[in-house]
């Protein structure tokens, strides 16, 4: 029994020594290092545009209808010749999502006929006041000046798995795929 206990001590000690000198920590030093999200991660919402800059959202309110938490508030307005905002007859003048009610289920993403509302990879949603949790349209609208990065065409019904991304994903589960 004593020899077994000493063997246990040897296992622990050598493991600690190996970790101390050879590394191998699995800890991510957040917030200096942040983890890449998997391809269809449901984070904070984004309103997409077309390539030429027109908004995709036509204010049909299907997302508000399907939302199980009633988190989306939508008011539509007409497109005029002078002010063509979206590629249809109407656009969403007021578009707000209450992030504290949202359960990030992705139903709005599935329901949208224009592929406008998508759930992006942002998960850092902490705010200091409760009123800050209402996301307005300008917070969610796509564009590099909002810090969303480059524009990506994202259609949830089209598979974005190519041979390279598949091989890369098999090596590293958090690999960045075509998003």
């Amino acid at each position: 029994m004593i020899i077994d206990i000493l063997k246990g001590f040897a296992a622990t000690t050598t493991h600690a020594a190996k970790f101390l000198f050879a590394g191998g920590s699995l800890t991510l030093e957040y917030p200096e290092v942040k983890r890449e999200q998997p391809p269809f991660f449901r984070g904070r919402h984004r309103l997409q545009r077309y390539q030429d800059g027109l908004e995709r959202c036509v204010g049909c309110a299907l997302c508000a209808a399907v939302c199980p938490s009633e988190a989306i508030y939508l008011e539509a307005a007409e497109n005029t010749e002078n002010n063509q905002v979206s590629a249809g007859e109407r656009y969403a003048e007021i578009y707000q999502i209450h992030l504290l009610r949202c359960i990030f289920c992705g139903f709005c993403e599935e329901a949208c006929p224009e592929n406008a509302i998508i759930l992006g990879p942002t998960y850092e949603l902490a705010m200091e006041k409760r009123t800050d949790f209402i996301a307005h349209k300008e917070d969610m609208l796509d564009g590099p000046e909002k810090g969303f990065g480059d524009y990506h065409e994202y259609d949830p019904y089209v598979s974005h798995v190519t041979e390279e991304s598949d091989a890369e994903a098999k090596g590293d589960p958090w690999a960045k795929a075509n998003h």
Partner: protein
């Protein structure tokens, strides 16, 4: 310095008494400051070492390598809310943490940290400080300075007595919290500590037979001359028993049923918060340091190094001691922390079984073997035990240790197989 002593001597009856008073105060302050100063880093070291065995880096956010973690932990505990449960016996509730912490500090007072300064070294110190030889000198009022807070002649007996008071703290904490889980934890802690004190005392008596004196300085002087003179080679079984008793006395894994985080939701310190909990926490670590220091003194040569490198008249001889003893204490603390990372918790009946049915007989047999060895192997002129006799005692007790290990392991395996026969006959 002498005028100061003379001035103080007007109050206390002589500059000698004044010097004794000042020395005592200085030693107490140095001991308290060093222990309380190093404690945050011991806490950090524990958390870091356990993390390394689990492939994670440990606390590294507060300060570089997490060095401020102990301080931040203390500040956090200071700001927590003080909750006293209704129906709690207020007086006992409030003094219980001190009854756990104070004996640990008291027992640390007699541990020899360095050799006794007397003779020519004392006159050198006296002339350096500017104290007259009548006060501090081989023929003065104060004829030696021991690098320990105090040096009673009953050294080790005092330690055993003081650690018994620590039992009161845990029992009263459990009782005064007015909560059934705390009470159970307190009762279990006290029963466990009492059981293992007996084994601890028996292993200590083995060392005393070899030394012939209770004074801790005599015990260390008996191990002078190099690493082959250390008591661990003469008393390996006693060393193993003492180490196991060390874990049980400080309520550390694998014996931490009383305070196990997953057992009784905290055991006897469930109802404690803020600074009172901090005192329990502190007391546990100081207890660890104390028993490590006692074990180093009894078995590993105390402040002595592996080789007798320095002659007695060089100042390095007196400076090496305070560095070597902390190194040995650090080794034992690492042992404590690695045991916490390695071993599962013992069930209460297994714990009591080990204490009474395994360690007590082994301690008694160790005592008998040592007594026979000392009786046969003592040098008839000096009365000290010769080195070959010590090695012979060590060999016999080590053989007894392995035989007992095989015996008790087969007994528990037999019990396990018998239980299997009742439940799953095909697996036995």
């Amino acid at each position: 310095m002498q005028p100061l002593l003379d001035a103080l001597g007007q109050l206390v009856g002589g500059p000698g008494n004044a010097l004794i008073l000042l020395l005592a105060l200085l030693k107490i302050v140095v001991l308290l400051a060093s222990i309380l100063g190093v404690l945050p880093f011991i806490i950090l070291y524990e958390r870091k070492l356990i993390s390394w065995t689990q492939d994670r880096p440990g606390p590294n956010r507060s300060g570089p390598w997490g060095l401020f973690h102990g301080l931040v932990d203390g500040i956090k505990l200071f700001f927590k809310e003080e909750i006293i449960p209704t129906g709690a016996d207020r007086f006992l509730y409030l003094i219980a943490p001190t009854l756990v912490t104070a004996p640990a500090f008291l027992a640390l007072c007699i541990v020899p940290i360095g050799p006794i300064i007397d003779g020519p070294a004392l006159t050198a110190v006296g002339s350096f400080l500017g104290i007259a030889p009548e006060t501090l000198g081989p023929s003065g009022s104060v004829s030696q300075i021991a690098i320990a807070v105090t040096n009673p002649n009953v050294g080790i007996l005092y330690v055993l007595a003081i650690t018994s008071i620590g039992v009161y703290g845990m029992t009263l904490a459990g009782w005064a919290s007015n909560s059934k889980w705390s009470l159970l934890g307190g009762i279990r802690a006290s029963a466990q500590m009492i059981s293992y004190e007996i084994s601890m005392s028996l292993s200590v008596i083995g060392v005393l037979l070899l030394t012939g004196s209770l004074n801790l300085y005599d015990i260390i002087e008996g191990q002078k001359g190099g690493v082959h003179h250390w008591n661990i080679w003469a008393q390996p079984l006693a060393f193993v028993l003492f180490v196991i008793a060390m874990f049980a006395e400080t309520n550390r894994l694998p014996f931490d049923l009383a305070e196990g985080e997953s057992e009784l939701t905290g055991g006897f310190h469930t109802e404690y918060s803020s600074m009172k909990f901090a005192l329990f926490f502190l007391g546990e670590y100081v207890n660890m340091i104390t028993v490590s220091a006692i074990c180093s003194t009894l078995f590993l040569g105390g402040y002595m190094g592996l080789l007798p490198l320095f002659p007695e008249d060089s100042p390095l001889y007196y400076l090496a001691g305070p560095l070597l003893l902390p190194a040995k204490i650090f080794f034992f603390l690492t042992l404590f922390i690695l045991a916490r990372a390695t071993m599962p918790r013992m069930r209460y009946d297994q714990l009591m079984n080990l204490g009474w049915k395994v360690m007590l007989p082994l301690g008694l047999m160790n005592l008998v073997i040592t007594a026979v060895g000392v009786g046969l192997g003592a040098d008839p002129d000096t009365g000290k035990v010769t080195l070959p006799a010590k090695f012979a005692i060590g060999a016999v007790t080590l053989a007894l240790l392995f035989a007992a290990d095989a015996f008790f392991t087969s007994k528990s395996k037999g019990r396990m197989l018998r239980d299997y026969q009742n439940v799953r006959p095909e697996a036995a």
